[in-house]
């Protein structure tokens, strides 16, 4: 009898607690800043082009092989507007295969891919979630605007600046006698050989 009353007490107190759920399609619970939604490509508004150079690091390190990418010569480089010799031509992610692990973001040397807050992309067809470059950039722009995104990994130096940075890193390495510096990332194409 006593234990029944105890249980009833728990139920009563539960009834008095505030509501914790939301009626999903009508209400949305707030997303955390670190929330990992579908990957999206970021947009370099200073040079009016994507950050992505199509180096394929993310493609190679994706555990589910859900993406494909192709690079091309950057016309803006010959014009002298951009420091990127190569630029992404086409990029496709099959979001139905993506497991939202964030490895692509980890390995990217240019901060060109980010886990956006986009998470509602239900489609009627199995392959309808294959998104192309314009959609990915659109998702990226929305995400950048929402969180006030700043490039963290590299400062997108001009070719000259990169040479100076490399030389500085080399001398620092020689002085410290230590492993390669983390600042030496801009020159490397493959994320796998970095420290």
């Amino acid at each position: 009898m006593l234990n029944t009353l105890k249980g009833l007490g728990v139920t009563l107190r539960g009834a008095l607690r505030p509501k914790v759920t939301a009626e999903y399609p009508k209400e949305h619970l707030p997303l955390d800043e670190r929330f990992m939604g579908f990957p999206a490509l970021t947009w370099d508004s200073a040079r009016v082009e994507p950050f992505c150079t199509g180096c394929m690091v993310c493609v190679r390190y994706c555990p589910t092989q859900c993406m494909t990418a192709q690079m091309t010569d950057n016309p803006k480089f010959t014009e002298g507007v951009s420091h990127r010799k190569k630029i992404i031509e086409s990029f496709e992610i099959n979001l139905g295969r993506c497991i939202l692990c964030g490895i692509c973001v980890d390995v990217c040397n240019f901060d060109a891919i980010e886990m956006s807050h986009e998470h509602e992309r239900s489609e009627r067809l199995r392959n309808a979630n294959r998104v192309d470059l314009p959609t990915l950039l659109e998702m990226g722009k929305t995400y950048q605007a929402k969180v006030g995104w700043k490039q963290a990994k590299s400062n997108a130096p001009s070719p000259n600046e990169r040479e100076t940075a490399k030389a500085a890193a080399k001398s620092a390495k020689a002085l410290a006698g230590d492993g390669p510096e983390s600042g030496d990332q801009t020159g490397a194409v493959d994320g796998g050989d970095q420290v």
Partner: protein, 392 residues
């Protein structure tokens, strides 16, 4: 009595068609034994697990478990993945305690590479793992009560588990498949307000565990359904290779965190709750006590936390030297071990998982035979298996 080879084919088919088999020697005269097929689509099997029961009326005479419905070939897949990618596969083994799975893999690779993660990273790992243990146990209290027809506790437990997952989301970016631990540390440092949030959550969880305790532990029906059911002695439990709460409920104080302290568990002060009878009630109550110990561990770990690095200086793509290593950790379900053979490459040559759920499941037949069909559900519930880990 019956090996695995004896049950497939004709016997399996008769079970499915519902026809009866001849009486067993012990049955009452004039009766026939019946095959009852339970699962794989059965809510009480907590996944895709199938039990083939031979019953005499309500009594279970024999039980044959069938596994493999969730087999994804994880171990073989690991041979083709980089160590950083394997973490995502380990997230999917025991999918209600993802952090604990990640920990055992990174511990093994770090052991092989002789890498020491920074102290702050180790404490973050411990806090995450203990929160995950509580979340996993909360899920157990709820589903276990549902197995016996008590619908209320699961609602409260999911409410509290949701808070844990919200904290996980703010730390790792994902509620369940985190991919947060790295070989040599963790992906990124926690926020500045993490300690305060975690301590508030500890208070909430303490209340949540107390609620489950009050709702279930002393309930007359609950005690009637669980005490004296599925008894296993300490020696038998050791013989079967059981581990975790299932073993400790039988009075064997074996906990990997104490026996072979990994990470920074040696610095933390916590008790190992043990049961005495080794029945279903003990297996339930050991988990209640364990969740409380975990809350204590989290509070100590938060007090020990100091600012600092969260990642050791290692290559982003781990390449351990040739050799072999075995590491094991205390998961919510028991002793999860991983054995890695490395040929010096970026991918393991062979990776073997010792899944606690699978090993605990071995004792199911011995525990169940002689009890009622309804008790089979309760006994399976106390073993608290996760099929993602059983089948891999």
């Amino acid at each position: 009595m019956n090996g695995f080879g004896n049950v497939s084919g004709a016997r399996g088919l008769t079970a499915l068609s519902g026809s009866e088999s001849p009486p067993s020697p012990g049955s009452e005269p004039g009766t026939v034994d019946m095959m009852v097929n339970m699962g794989p689509q059965h809510p009480a099997t907590h996944g895709v697990f199938r039990m083939e029961l031979r019953v005499d009326g309500e009594r279970v005479l024999d039980l044959v478990p069938h596994i493999g419905y969730l087999h994804r070939g994880s171990e073989k897949l690991c041979e083709h993945e980089l160590y950083s990618q394997i973490i995502t596969l380990f997230d999917r083994l025991d999918y209600v305690s993802n952090f604990n799975n990640e920990l055992v893999l990174v511990t093994a690779v770090e052991k092989l590479m002789s890498v020491e993660p920074p102290p702050r990273a180790e404490l973050i790992r411990i806090i995450m793992c203990e929160f995950n243990r509580i979340a996993s146990h909360l899920l157990f209290y709820g589903t276990f009560a549902i197995d016996m027809g008590a619908m209320t506790p699961v609602l409260y437990n999911f409410r509290d588990r949701e808070k844990v997952q919200a904290l996980f989301e703010s730390v790792s970016g994902a509620r369940m498949m985190h991919n947060y631990f790295r070989v040599g540390g963790v992906k990124q440092d926690v926020d500045a307000d993490f300690a305060a949030r975690a301590l508030t959550l500890c208070d909430d969880l303490e209340r949540g565990v107390d609620d489950s305790d009050r709702l279930l532990s002393e309930n007359a029906i609950f005690i009637e359904r669980t005490s004296g059911i599925g008894v296993i002695s300490g020696e038998a439990a050791l013989d079967w290779g059981l581990s975790g709460p299932v073993l400790r409920a039988s009075g064997v104080p074996y906990d990997v965190r104490v026996e072979e302290p990994y990470s920074r568990y040696a610095e933390l002060d916590f008790g190992v709750p043990v049961g005495s009878a080794g029945d279903c009630w003990d297996r339930f109550y050991v988990r209640i006590l364990e969740a409380r110990e975990s809350i204590g561990i989290i509070r100590q770990a938060i007090a020990l936390m100091e600012p600092g690095e969260t990642m050791a200086r290692v290559r982003q793509i781990a390449r351990p030297p040739a050799g072999e290593v075995y590491a094991h950790c205390e998961n919510p379900r028991g002793d999860l071990g991983v054995y890695i053979v490395s040929d010096g490459g970026e991918r393991p040559y062979r990776l073997k998982v010792r899944p606690p759920s699978f090993c605990n499941l071995q004792a199911l037949r011995d525990l169940t035979v002689g009890h009622y069909i309804a008790d089979a559900v309760v006994i399976l519930g106390t073993l608290d298996i996760v099929l993602g880990e059983v089948d891999r």
